[in-house]
């Protein structure tokens, strides 16, 4: 299987008043086509920088980012993005918000087809009947569902998610994990998910990459050998518990707190 996303030896530093602030140090990540890659690591370790690099919004100081065998140097139409903040446009209805990427990527697509595509996705995430509402009329979880629809409406090869469920309560978050799982089963895409939630990384990921503290290096890569049709209950099996424990230890190392009593 070929790697759809390949990050090779990426090093990056931000220029600040106090001098260069290195955030990524010789980072290597490979995600095969159709795989779900969860990235965890301590706060401020450069995870968001990673998403911007893959999206082509930034260029790394050193190293290369490859998508589909092509080197990424600028934004591409085949990428979808979702953030912690759903960033829906208040002046558009939910349906028109979901359609937005199609207006850019497929300017000649008939409006009727765009709406049909958006409605199909909204139905899948349980937002049927809310397509005519404004974002301000929806709950946080519903807005994030709409944001997910928008990020995949143009059938991107790569979906990049930067803590998309971080601001939701625990139960809504679990609901959205399952929505994510079902969306992926219905229309496969390759995904990079940045998260702080280890259970989320194990539930959704095919591999979990642990980044070290800043500047971030690949500290550990965990293969998640759970079946594809996972349920929330899968997280309470001994295998899952073992993986979560291992990840917790890795995070502790990444935070530089290995020697502390825990």
């Amino acid at each position: 299987m070929t790697n759809l996303i390949e990050i090779k030896g990426v090093t990056h530093a931000y220029r600040t008043k106090a001098g260069p602030l290195p955030v990524l140090d010789n980072l290597n990540v490979a995600v095969p086509e159709g795989e779900f890659c969860a990235v965890v690591g301590p706060s401020g370790c450069g995870k968001s920088t990673l998403t911007r690099l893959v999206a082509g919004l930034m260029k790394p100081d050193q190293g290369e980012v490859w998508l589909h065998g092509e080197r990424v140097t600028s934004p591409r139409k085949t990428v979808g993005m979702a953030f912690q903040n759903p960033v829906l446009l208040e002046w558009r209805t939910i349906l028109d918000n979901v359609i937005l990427p199609l207006e850019i990527v497929a300017p000649r697509m008939p409006q009727r087809d765009r709406e049909a595509r958006a409605m199909h996705l909204l139905e899948m995430v349980g937002l049927k009947g809310f397509e005519g509402k404004r974002p301000s009329e929806l709950s946080g979880g519903m807005r994030q569902r709409a944001s997910l629809c928008r990020s995949i409406v143009h059938k991107p090869d790569v979906l990049i998610m930067d803590e998309p469920f971080g601001a939701l309560d625990a139960f809504t978050r679990e609901d959205l994990w399952q929505t994510m799982r079902d969306l992926r089963a219905a229309e496969p895409f390759t995904c990079v998910l940045i998260t702080h939630d280890l259970r989320e990384s194990v539930f959704l990921g095919d591999q979990v990459i642990v980044l070290s503290g800043r500047p971030a290096r690949t500290q550990h890569v965990l293969r998640v050998d759970l079946p594809a049709d996972r349920t929330i209950d899968s997280l309470y099996t001994p295998e899952a518990a073992e993986m979560l424990h291992l990840l917790r230890d890795q995070i502790r190392i990444a935070q530089g707190r290995d020697g502390e009593v825990h």
Binding site: R52, A55, G56, L57, S74, P75, R76, K77, V79, G80, M81, F83, N85, V87, L89, E90, W91, L100, P101, E103, I104, V105, R134, S136, E137, R150, H154, I160
Partner: protein
């Protein structure tokens, strides 16, 4: 019942105000040249009705023309400041300094530069006094746009123009209309300032001045009322535009 209350309460308040005004003038036995009473106003309006229409129109179109220029120029300036750090650092002190000058002092300056160009001078003053809030609010609206909003379109390869048209422009509209409500009042002040001060001026300001010159106090008060009415019309025209173009920003009442 609710609509009745909506109409009746303000109407009664206005009537009570006029009654109080009439009463104070009557109790103090003030002559017309000290303070006109509301009952003096209808005759003044009737006598000069054609002048009110003509002069009111003069004031109205000049205010709108000045405001239109302010919208155009203010938006462009705001865009420059919103998109470019350098433009913001360069223009902001100049703008604040210019705004600090009381605009009444500019009237003789303008009158000297463009002698006798009454229409032009009036529109220019309405423009000068009213572009500042628009420029500042558009600038702030654009520069505080969260980067994620830009990124969702930028990651798809959208051009800067597309991002501006689809995201930045509509997102700034509520701030823009907030500023426009301030600017419309300012433009109105600017217009009247020139109309009153200029010799041989036209417009409601000039009518006010002629009332003063002729000692026709009821006329002066009638002009004040006409100005108030015109100001209200202008303000609510902006409110109506806001409802049409930025109505989404009004939160649904829960």
């Amino acid at each position: 019942m609710e609509t009745l209350q909506k109409i009746a309460v303000p109407t009664l308040a206005i009537l009570a105000f006029l009654g109080l005004w009439e009463f104070i003038v009557w109790v103090n036995d003030w002559p017309n040249y000290k303070m006109a009473s509301p009952s003096d106003l209808p005759p003044a309006f009737a006598r000069y009705s054609h002048l009110f229409l003509e002069m009111g129109w003069q004031t109205l179109w000049r205010t709108i023309a000045g405001l239109g220029l302010a919208v155009l120029f203010g938006t462009l300036l705001g865009m420059a400041m919103g998109f470019s750090r350098i433009a913001r650092d360069a223009l902001y002190p100049l703008l604040v300094g210019f705004n600090a000058i009381p605009k009444a002092t500019l009237v003789p300056v303008i009158a000297l530069i463009f002698i006798g160009q009454h229409d032009f001078n009036t529109v220019l003053m309405a423009f000068l006094i009213s572009f500042f809030p628009i420029a500042v609010s558009v600038g702030i609206g654009l520069s505080t746009l969260e980067p994620e909003y830009r990124d969702i379109l930028r990651s798809l390869g959208a051009s800067r123009v597309t991002i501006f048209r689809k995201i930045a422009l509509p997102k700034t509209l509520p701030e823009f209309f907030g500023a426009l409500k301030v600017s419309v009042t300012l433009a109105f002040i600017g217009t009247n300032l020139v109309e009153i001060v200029s010799p041989h001026g036209r417009g409601l300001g000039a009518l006010f001045k002629s009332g003063e010159t002729n000692g026709d106090y009821p006329l002066m008060f009638a002009v004040l009322i006409a100005l108030a009415v015109l100001g209200i019309v202008l303000y609510y025209a902006v409110v109506a535009l806001e409802r049409i173009f930025a109505g989404w920003a009004e939160r649904p009442q829960s």
